[in-house]
């Protein structure tokens, strides 16, 4: 709502005391609006442009502000919070360098469609464009990596802009929205009215699938003998795990998931094929290669999934459900597209789905699972990274929230942790951001204090954001970190070994890695170094018992281990490499 003349408002406020709007500063309206949107946690970092706003935060009791240690960590923490809950993650940073430090976190959230609202301080309106102290054109910098953004120059529009920002962030295909807050606007006053409705003429996402298309889909599915359901992050984002599970069971079709789709269907179910793609299981990739019907559910045929497009699932009819029309048919032609929210579409479709004649196909797949299981060679002298994940999966009964960083360990998590619930596997899939794991785990633990949250990270990526351990100590957050310490930038090393004649250019970390146990202890975390299986099991027990501070396990693992299976970039199923065991 717009208020143009404040004298009138003041007059009316004396007339009708009860309903009179409050006259508030922009900073106060900002906080009122966050409370109005249901925000309970803000990840932030103060600075000159926000100092007056932080004075209000000092007195604010309705929401919690967590001081992070680096703004990039703040954005990943908000991202982890959002992935674990489905609620938008909230970030608040100062102008200039505070704002530019959020760029990687925003891009990470954008690529994986994570709802997030990032508020950046800005120099006073009249100084914008003057190269003022700590000025950065953050709207310009982030335009290609935000779903939308606003500059709030007029305090009268602030409540409305914030409401729109939240609406855009969480609806349709979710994503990060940035709101830039000039310092003078935060200081100026106006009457505050909570914003209730949103008028955005250019934004009307299609949630319900067209009735006709859903009917067509029911027919389209009939007659398949070798169906595969291919589930992506969209199923998690739309909270459709139950509907996906019902769909697959009714159809009697096996389910494979993308990195971001893990958790949408229980991996303990016989119908699960685990992950597909470059480091997917042999049998998931074989099934996709062989199937006669492929149903993409909230998945976008990313190149890490398809490899060589020409040879991807060559014999199948394809159906795709996605809320974003631009994802449909972008890489792979689709015979039956349905634009809509996965949950909403499956709610319509499930009642009319009929069982496929797929028993023979399922038997064939069961045999493949026996002949080509995920596997690795154990070794008495050194822990295998896969073994660490397997042990953790057992120790936590597949019920922990696992945040991952990026590298080999990320793939081993996807392969070896048996996820049974949605929103339990937090991984930077689209952007592949090293440094994501530590703060994302922190954010998830803040969001879910009653769950076990473990950040599993490489020794390289850990060092990109390990300073967030300070944040966990500051707020007594009992988040756990497991470093799979292979002394290398392992994933790059693997490519160098396989495709560059073992020229290990700039991937050996060991000579300079710090003593991670000492590093963690210096922050005040509980830390252990682990080298053997016995020590590992013991360390997991001890780790679970800590409830008042973060835990860091430095687990020394085999430096040579590689991630298999592997379909080299741009290859197809015929190029799959398996572990030599």
């Amino acid at each position: 709502m717009l208020v143009t003349s404040s004298p009138e408002v003041e007059k009316s406020s004396t007339d009708e005391k009860m309903t009179a709007p409050q006259i508030l500063t922009g900073a106060e309206i900002f906080l009122e609006s966050l409370v109005h949107e249901g925000v309970d946690t803000v990840f932030g970092y103060p600075g000159g442009a926000l100092i007056s706003l932080y004075d209000y935060i000092f007195k604010e009791t309705r929401l919690r502000h967590l001081l992070v240690t680096h703004e990039q960590g703040g954005t990943h923490a908000a991202d982890g919070y959002a992935r674990a809950t489905g609620k938008p993650g909230i970030v608040l940073v100062t102008s200039g360098p505070g704002a530019t430090n959020t760029v990687t976190g925003i891009a990470t959230a954008f690529m994986d469609s994570v709802p997030m609202v990032v508020f950046t301080g800005q120099v006073p309106s009249h100084m914008i464009g003057n190269d003022a102290f700590q000025e950065a054109d953050i709207l310009g910098i982030t335009r290609p990596i935000t779903k939308h953004s606003y500059l709030a120059t007029n305090v009268d529009e602030l409540a409305d802009i914030i409401h729109k920002a939240f609406h855009i962030a969480v609806t349709g295909r979710p994503g990060p929205v940035l709101v830039d807050l000039p310092k003078d606007m935060l200081a100026s006053k106006t009457a505050y009215f909570p914003a209730t409705d949103v008028e955005l003429r250019g934004y009307k996402p299609t949630v319900k699938g067209s009735f006709k298309q859903v009917r067509n889909a029911a027919k389209f599915l009939q007659g398949a003998k070798k169906p595969v359901v291919y589930v992506g992050g969209g199923a998690i984002l739309s909270n459709a795990a139950e509907e996906v599970t019902e769909f697959a069971r009714k159809l009697n079709a096996p389910v494979t998931m993308t990195l971001l789709g893990l958790g949408a269907f229980p991996e303990t179910d016989d119908l699960s094929l685990g992950m597909l793609g470059m480091h997917g299981t042999w049998y998931a990739n074989k099934a996709v290669d062989d199937c006669d019907l492929l149903i993409a559910v909230g998945a976008r045929f990313d190149d890490r999934v398809t490899g060589n497009l020409e040879k991807f699932s060559p014999n199948s009819k394809k159906m795709q459900i996605d809320i974003d029309p631009s994802c449909i048919g972008k890489n792979v032609p689709v015979d039956l597209p349905i634009v809509g929210d996965v949950k909403s579409v499956l709610e319509e479709l499930n009642p009319v789905v009929e069982k496929c004649d797929s028993d023979e196909w399922l038997q064939e797949i069961a045999q493949w699972k026996k002949d080509h299981p995920l596997r690795y060679a154990k070794n008495e002298n050194v822990l295998k990274p896969q073994q660490v994940i397997e042990e953790l999966s057992i120790a936590t009964k597949g019920n922990a929230i696992i945040a991952s960083d990026v590298g080999q360990h990320q793939m081993w998590i996807a392969q070896w942790y048996k996820f049974t619930q949605p929103r339990s596997h937090l991984s930077s899939g689209g952007l592949g951001t090293m440094g994501f794991g530590v703060p994302a785990a922190l954010g998830a633990q803040v969001a879910c204090p009653d769950r076990t949250v473990v950040g599993i990270v490489g020794d390289g990526g850990f060092q990109m954001t390990s300073m967030e351990i300070a944040t966990a100590v500051r707020y007594s957050i009992p988040v756990k970190f497991v470093i799979l310490n292979n002394g290398y930038l392992g994933m790059v090393r693997q490519w160098q070994e396989l495709f560059f004649d073992k020229r290990y250019s700039n991937t050996h970390l060991n000579p300079s890695n710090p003593d991670f146990k000492k590093l963690a202890e210096s922050y005040g975390a509980f830390a252990l170094q682990v080298k053997t299986l016995d020590e590992l099991r013991d360390a997991f027990d001890k780790m679970m018992a800590v409830t008042d501070r973060p835990v860091v396990l430095d687990v020394i693992v085999d430096q040579q281990e590689k991630v298999y299976p592997m379909i080299p970039a741009n290859g197809s199923f015929e190029n799959i490499l398996e572990a030599d065991v």
Partner: protein, 163 residues
């Protein structure tokens, strides 16, 4: 194939930047882009001329629709539509050459809108082909400056009727 896309967008700098940035970020072509007020307050009308194969054009349309401050997208290609371009052409012209230039201007139904002892400025409106033609006719006299608006377009009210 060449496509003419007409957009109604929220009237602010951010809209233009988002749209132009989307084209460059995704490697789509912009042959011309023109923007100005529309019939509705707060909304601008933008005409983009682009080219690409069917899949690219489909992506362009979908990505435009995805922009939050794009209110409407019409791909005019395949429909009946009118389109024009405006050009200002400053030509070197000695007093002796003026009459020859004026003949050319007349043939193209253009106008002379500024005159000096050494140069004159021509205003021409029409299809891109016509504009290019008059420019090439004026070229021999010496072009001092050319400014073209790029195509603006509207759908014809009666489809199938050409005036």
């Amino acid at each position: 194939m060449k496509h003419t896309i007409n957009l109604l967008v929220e009237n602010n700098v951010g809209s233009l930047l988002r749209i132009a940035g989307m084209f460059s970020g995704r490697g789509f072509n912009i042959d011309s882009i023109s923007v100005g007020a529309s019939e509705e307050e707060g909304l601008s009308r933008m005409t983009i001329v682009t080219h690409g194969d069917d899949e690219i054009i489909e992506q362009i349309n979908k990505q435009l629709n995805k922009c939050i401050n794009v209110v409407k997208v019409f791909d005019l290609t395949g429909e009946a539509f009118v389109h024009r371009e405006l050009a200002l052409i400053k030509v070197q012209a000695t007093p002796v050459e003026r009459s020859e230039i004026m003949q050319i201007v007349e043939v193209f139904r253009a106008k002379i809108i500024d005159l000096s002892p050494t140069a004159l400025t021509v205003e021409a409106t029409g299809t891109e082909d016509k504009i290019s033609a008059i420019i090439s006719m004026l070229q021999p006299f010496g072009l001092k400056a050319v400014s073209r608006t790029g195509r603006i377009a509207l759908k014809r009210e009666f489809q199938g009727v050409t005036v």
